[in-house]
């Protein structure tokens, strides 16, 4: 069984940050990078599936579209047990929207011919919630979004999955592979890498490829774009909260007062 897991290195804002002069992004000095929370769960799901399947004819390949910053995330995945990593990058992808990224991912994944493709439900910085299913669209793969339980029957190539709906309601559906699933947090307990595995991960293959290596060029990617960023700014502050000032004890006393007042009223 071969599983491709699409993973993304995401940025979180420092408590204080500055926007770039062109207003189209955040000054990278104020960003902190880590692997997208959802992708920890989808990698774990892939590892559990291949480890549970018996035999050693399995491969988990992690793929990312990202600059050098993303390699740390890929190394982390290799340390946890992924066999191989692929990083696709081109300068022109700097501000790529979700469809352009999906287009590139689709091209890279197509080359791998996997049985299963796993993506996260969403990435915490862009919050598109769309890249996985867009990849399925490009590749014409069967797909299920927001999966919170997954069983796979290798003999029939059928996955039985739980879609998590609003209000926690579950829909159980079956899908035949090859298929793409987007994985929800809580589906499993992501493992930690051992120190030894982290050291050894340096020796596992990490291929860095460009657009032409996956059969694309800048024009094809920009033709896929679904939107163009016009501006980025802090949200307008509405009425906002009335802020409680003072020492923690003073704040606590005010909270107790407010609660009492509001519960009686």
């Amino acid at each position: 069984m071969k599983i491709v897991v699409a993973v993304k290195q995401v940025a979180a804002l420092d408590e204080e940050f500055e926007l770039l002069d062109d207003g189209l992004g955040v000054d990278p000095d104020f960003l902190e990078w880590s692997l997208n929370e959802w992708d920890d769960f989808s990698l774990e799901a892939a590892l559990l599936l291949t480890e549970g399947a018996g035999g050693d004819d399995h491969e988990v390949v992690v793929v990312t579209v990202g600059d050098e910053e993303a390699e740390e995330g890929l190394r982390g995945c290799l340390a946890k047990g992924a066999h191989r990593a692929v990083r696709v990058w081109d300068e022109s992808l700097e501000r790529a929207d979700t469809l352009s990224v999906a287009r590139v991912l689709a091209a890279a994944i197509e080359r791998e011919s996997p049985d299963l493709v796993l993506c996260g439900v969403q990435s915490s910085d862009a919050v598109n919630g769309a890249t996985g299913v867009a990849v399925a669209g490009y590749l014409d793969l069967a797909h299920v979004a927001v999966v919170k339980a997954l069983e796979f029957d290798a003999a029939s190539g059928t996955a039985t999955v739980q879609r998590e709906l609003e209000g926690g309601v579950i829909e159980v559906v079956k899908v035949r592979t090859p298929a793409l699933l987007t994985i929800q947090t809580g589906i499993n307990e992501p493992r930690y890498a051992t120190l030894r595995a982290i050291k050894q991960a340096g020796e596992k293959p990490l291929a860095v490829v460009g657009l032409s290596d996956v059969g694309l060029d800048e024009a094809a990617v920009s033709a896929a774009a679904g939107s163009r960023l016009a501006s980025m700014a802090p949200p307008e502050k509405g009425g906002g909260a009335q802020m409680l000032e003072g020492s923690p004890d003073e704040i606590a006393a005010r909270i107790v007062e407010i609660v009492k007042e509001r519960l009686v009223g």
């Binding site: 669209g137 490009y138 797909h143 609003e166 926690g168 899908v175 802090p234 004890d249």
Partner: protein, 330 residues
């Protein structure tokens, strides 16, 4: 390539959502959004509903300002991503809308990105505001709603947007008298997943939707061993303990205590949020509480945007203080 939708005119198409035989509120919110853009762009509004028994929703969807309701008959009432994908693709081809609005919901996330990718549409998700002023614009969050982005769709004749729930008012069902048209589509064999069953959430020991005072904890508590302390605090304070999702995912809290889109929607008199950032899916479950008090170390946390009272402080120091205050009072 064209310059996109600059002249206005044409049609805005809303894809309604139903689940287990009921129309979902987001459908009529999308109608409000569509009406607003259509007015600015001089466009018409069509609403399509897909399902085995789609005609039964036509009357409700015919809100004021809707010009046409399109009923599409599908092999099953249950949403199936690939059936919806084929149906919406066919509707885009036959109706030639300039803008397609769907909800940013679990169902739509399952098919809309595939339609946009395959048809090469303009596309953005989790949109909080759509506007037209000589061109289409959408506003959406970035970096967990700490920033807002405006995006444009300059090269696209047709754009598909998924719109966040709760951002537009629910249009009055059945308040207009649009034309209703049945659209025949060949959807046989489109399904690629097989529905097995729905499962409802297990009850749990307490019903947090009934509580008047919720003390709600988030990832800011950081350690499983701290959780009992908050249960004691809740008991002392006369509150019911609830939480954000990560604590449930980690197994620190039972799922019956989860507030939010995939948990419970609560409307207590007081909601005290400790160490919760205020992600959109969390807010979806508590933003209508009468009084919201939030404690968070990050002054930019989105939770302060919906809270009535806020404190930028370490939750543990504040909890020490609350414990002291309650002891003194008793």
């Amino acid at each position: 390539m064209s310059n996109g939708w600059v002249d206005g005119g044409g049609a805005v198409l809303v894809i309604a959502e139903t689940r287990r035989g009921e129309l979902r509120d987001v459908s009529l919110e999308l109608v409000s959004a569509a009406r607003e853009v259509a007015q600015a762009a001089g466009a018409t509004v069509a609403v399509a509903v897909i399902g085995a028994d789609s005609a039964k929703f036509a009357q409700a969807l015919g809100a004021e300002g809707v010009d046409q309701v399109l009923t599409v008959s599908a092999p099953s009432d249950n949403f199936e991503a690939h059936v919806w994908q084929r149906a919406v693709t066919a509707l885009i081809e036959s109706e030639q809308p300039r803008l397609v609005l769907v909800g940013h919901t679990i169902d739509s996330l399952g098919f809309a990105p595939a339609v946009a990718a395959r048809q090469g549409l303009g596309f953005a998700t989790d949109v909080v505001k759509v506007s037209f002023d000589g061109g289409l614009r959408a506003r959406r969050g970035a970096y967990g709603d700490k920033l807002q982005a405006e995006v444009e769709f300059p090269d696209h004749d047709c754009t598909l947007l998924t719109v966040r729930a709760g951002m537009y008012p629910v249009a009055a069902a059945g308040s207009g008298s649009p034309a209703v048209r049945a659209v025949e589509l060949d959807l046989a064999g489109a399904a690629r997943t097989e529905h097995v069953e729905f499962r409802d959430v297990a009850g749990g020991d307490v019903d947090i939707t009934k509580a008047e005072f919720l003390l709600s904890i988030g990832r800011g508590v950081e350690d499983k061993d701290e959780v009992p302390r908050f249960q004691e605090l809740a008991d002392q304070f006369g509150a019911t303990l609830s939480s954000s999702r990560p604590l449930v995912d980690a197994g620190w809290m039972p799922s019956s205590r989860q507030v939010g889109q995939s948990g419970k929607t609560v409307k207590p008199r007081v909601y005290l949020a400790l160490g919760i950032s205020g992600a959109v899916q969390h807010l979806a479950g508590m933003r209508t509480a009468d009084t919201i008090i939030a404690v968070n170390t990050d002054p930019e946390a989105p939770i302060f945007g919906v809270a009535h009272f806020g404190a930028v402080a370490d939750l543990f120091e504040v909890v020490d203080g609350i414990e002291k205050a309650l002891e003194q009072a008793s």
